[in-house]
Subunit: 322 residues, 4 copies
Amino acid sequence: MPDAACGGKGCAAGKGFCDVRERWTDLAVEAQGQGGAGPGQSERLSGGIERTVVRIDSEASARELGRPMGEYVTLSCPQTLSIDLSTRRALSGELARVLRHMLPPDARTVLVTGLGNRSVTPDALGPRTVERVLVTRHMEGCLPAELSARMARVCAAAPGVLGVTGIETAEVLRGMVEHVKPDAVIAVDALAARSSQRICSTIQVADTGITPGSGVGNHQKALCEETFGVPVIAVGVPMVVYASTIARDALGALGGDDGSVDERQLTDCIERVVSERLGDLIVTPREVDALVERMAGILSEGINLALHPGLNADEIAQMMAQ
Amino acid sequence: MPDAACGGKGCAAGKGFCDVRERWTDLAVEAQGQGGAGPGQSERLSGGIERTVVRIDSEASARELGRPMGEYVTLSCPQTLSIDLSTRRALSGELARVLRHMLPPDARTVLVTGLGNRSVTPDALGPRTVERVLVTRHMEGCLPAELSARMARVCAAAPGVLGVTGIETAEVLRGMVEHVKPDAVIAVDALAARSSQRICSTIQVADTGITPGSGVGNHQKALCEETFGVPVIAVGVPMVVYASTIARDALGALGGDDGSVDERQLTDCIERVVSERLGDLIVTPREVDALVERMAGILSEGINLALHPGLNADEIAQMMAQ
Amino acid sequence: MPDAACGGKGCAAGKGFCDVRERWTDLAVEAQGQGGAGPGQSERLSGGIERTVVRIDSEASARELGRPMGEYVTLSCPQTLSIDLSTRRALSGELARVLRHMLPPDARTVLVTGLGNRSVTPDALGPRTVERVLVTRHMEGCLPAELSARMARVCAAAPGVLGVTGIETAEVLRGMVEHVKPDAVIAVDALAARSSQRICSTIQVADTGITPGSGVGNHQKALCEETFGVPVIAVGVPMVVYASTIARDALGALGGDDGSVDERQLTDCIERVVSERLGDLIVTPREVDALVERMAGILSEGINLALHPGLNADEIAQMMAQ
Amino acid sequence: MPDAACGGKGCAAGKGFCDVRERWTDLAVEAQGQGGAGPGQSERLSGGIERTVVRIDSEASARELGRPMGEYVTLSCPQTLSIDLSTRRALSGELARVLRHMLPPDARTVLVTGLGNRSVTPDALGPRTVERVLVTRHMEGCLPAELSARMARVCAAAPGVLGVTGIETAEVLRGMVEHVKPDAVIAVDALAARSSQRICSTIQVADTGITPGSGVGNHQKALCEETFGVPVIAVGVPMVVYASTIARDALGALGGDDGSVDERQLTDCIERVVSERLGDLIVTPREVDALVERMAGILSEGINLALHPGLNADEIAQMMAQ
């Protein structure tokens, strides 16, 4: 989730920077609707999951949709307070398949990184996910050869956010990448969606990398192949909608979108309604604390299955419980 | 904050019950604007604090404003990400004064109770506050007489919410009240406001008691003098605005309030925009985790000063740090 | 786990009260060895679990062992950092069987209570367990009849400890019992063992109820059938050993037990070694945070299976994940 | 605090590696007593604080005491459950003085790092401390010049432990140091002491850097000037004593130290008493959760005062509360 511009501890300047932001979304599948590009290809899988693939394959589309060229796979399930066990397994299994498809075929060493601020509940998805990743890089030589052969060399890090560390996320990770020399990086982050129905019901996997804080005009270095020299796969789940999006959508639903309300008037309305003096106002379910834990479980299960294809879910659960 | 109707663990029926709720507020000072009643009396205090007193003194007003007769004192300060130390001290000092004014003059034994669900961040204000209350009831006989004379007999409880315990809050507390026989009860709760500018910048103190879940048509027994036989003082701070309020206000700002948009159309719009399938959607600041801690500190300081007038802030801090 | 005598927040008198405590244990199966009573009956079950039943069936034995008459069932598994999945399921399944054996055969309404202080890691086992109990009492009328018929009416509470609430645990619970009128109470608590090998590898279930703080000469009212009028089943797991026990055992291992070291000398040694100025010193595994979570999962699974025999583990997991 | 050798998630080999460890201590002031070196120089300061300076200034002493050459300053206060406010301020003020004395005089950019595992309560001191450090590096250009002139450029990181990340701490930090190019590094860690009276009552500051896991024969790279190219100041507070130390000391107190008990017999005793199958057994106060928070507050206050000498404690508190 976007880190507040410089809104960390002690910043005098942490004022609302995105108050009249266009209905912001980190999802390519939603941006598409806005940008006029054609729809992605959707497919209904078992377990009630829908997989949509959006490919941004020209510079023009990339500019139009405001995100880098590449493949964006969206897995979504019906949004309910309770994801049943079979849907969870279907989601984590499908995530594993998508990740294996995007990872270099011979990837042996992988760095999994959880972006976001662990002290901000909806933004803690990344750190909470990496806590449950089965880390093995430091155990080489300790494990029985039979077991070792079935596992990748995995390391994990939650580098914190600029506002808390004072260092750009990309810079923290660059040092690790140089030392660990992974074959790929997987970066997990909480996202913002345009539609509240996407919250906690959609997983986006992209082979494009990710730019921390991109939603807030907070220009940080991207985590991507260009920066790190190895492929960066971004895994994200919407945890919030911006309050300004809800306000805009209410106005749009009333007919504003057809041009009957002009943009200036819209912006004025939103500014009157959504005071952003207290940082970003976000829209989120009351149950977000529990939802973050649940989604971190699904993501880490998918990542563990993708990285250690020689282990099944029970073996992984067993190893995680030390 | 209102507990979801029966939306606790395992409830199949936890669907959106408040999706087209009228711009809900737990603040008398905001309800007033809606109800047409005259404005409360405001006074500007030192430290940038404004104190507004609303008295609902007739059954007619009570019906109109949808809340019980009594005195509602609102303390508010400018909303900023950072409340400076002098404002904090001014707030807790003024809260102590208001509480002392509302407590029975000879109150010696007081039960402080923190309502809400400690596992739901913005709803954890009550439980977090009581954790910092200086509890003394069990120490009688242990303390030096000199010290004991300057302190009240205070006990504290966070009874949990119906969805988690399966027991109504009033019933859990009634047993304690019967055993402890306090001279008064102070009940701390997180509230919902109509205006996002009220979040974490307003404290409401009322001599009317409080009804858990009142905002959600979830009819629980009130915590009040009638139920418990002793005065119940409610202390609340808005931590959220309902997403439907934001949407309604956006529409209102566009002219909906003057009658140009009819109510049915409004409700339809909101239903289209604010999907409530995932429990209540709330609007809250990104920083709500930190804001809850800070406000719990201010409230507990005010309560401790009010209950132990023989101790100063340093002595209380010292005793709390065991 | 024993609450410090009056050592809550603000107590000036919280000094070491148990510094030369006899190798303290809350386990009947360990006390027995000390008291000279005959050994319990042990049986090896599938999944590597050993079940030992100790019956204290005379007042003389009760006095000798310093605990009430009744049946104490101990389930133990080999202590390892990692309890494998099959052992976990065997433990929770066997716990369910023992509980069903001890519960009144027609028990329909049950109150599950988690004793201990949630802010003290090894003492948080009780509160953490009840968070995962499937609470249903408030949902009557909400659930489909078919489902409702297969479930008990369960409510749950974590009443806190005397030092934090200022009210005795038994008093807090008594009010709930009077209101809820359960057919039985299940009380979950963290225990102290004599042997560090018991930590997190032993579950004691007793039909005797439990006395909070009994290990520390801190005379609180017992939670038992006499107090509440309904059976109270105690479920406990050792999370700590007292430091003084370790010191005594070291001395004993050197030959002190055979009389070559006199008791006065022993006590002096321990006092010199184990400074208890900072509250009780406890011996606990480094990993206690993770172990508490894992054991809370096992206990709640056993309790849920025992109370809702019409549901299987997957259905319960599903309902808990709301 | 030492990280378990390779005892992270999933390690099959995490068995007791330090069961008969010599009474381990991370404190130079305690090692000294063992090594036979002369006592350090002690001085009693105001506020009841004692400052002891140990200088290890020859390779022989370094070998004998098993720690690097350099200056070790120990601040200690009487151990009580409650450190009063004046003692806290005296401790943080004195820590600031010691740090300023050890920091390069013209240090402008400083990296503060909190070692240890935030999911293991007594080991979370480092991460909890850095959460409260006033981070400013990312705000250059954002702050008023007047304010900026009074503040250092501070960044902060909690790199996690080898068992959780799969990367050595020194390697994670090396990348950051290369990017940030600080003038000095301050590394905060929880320590193990020999005497339980040292727990939470002693702060050790050393200009020698620190070796993660040094207490457990777990040979990781040191964080020191040699590794990083800039001075590394280690700040540590004992949070635990090893259970084996308590057992050894009990035996020693009985006369073992004078040679009457031979080493083999001692070791056998300890092995019988202190089962280390469940990771390291540690001795710690029951209240360790609260003590970690309190000590993190004292350390961060000292660090903030040392790094931003132009700000007073109130200004720092104000900026931290964003």
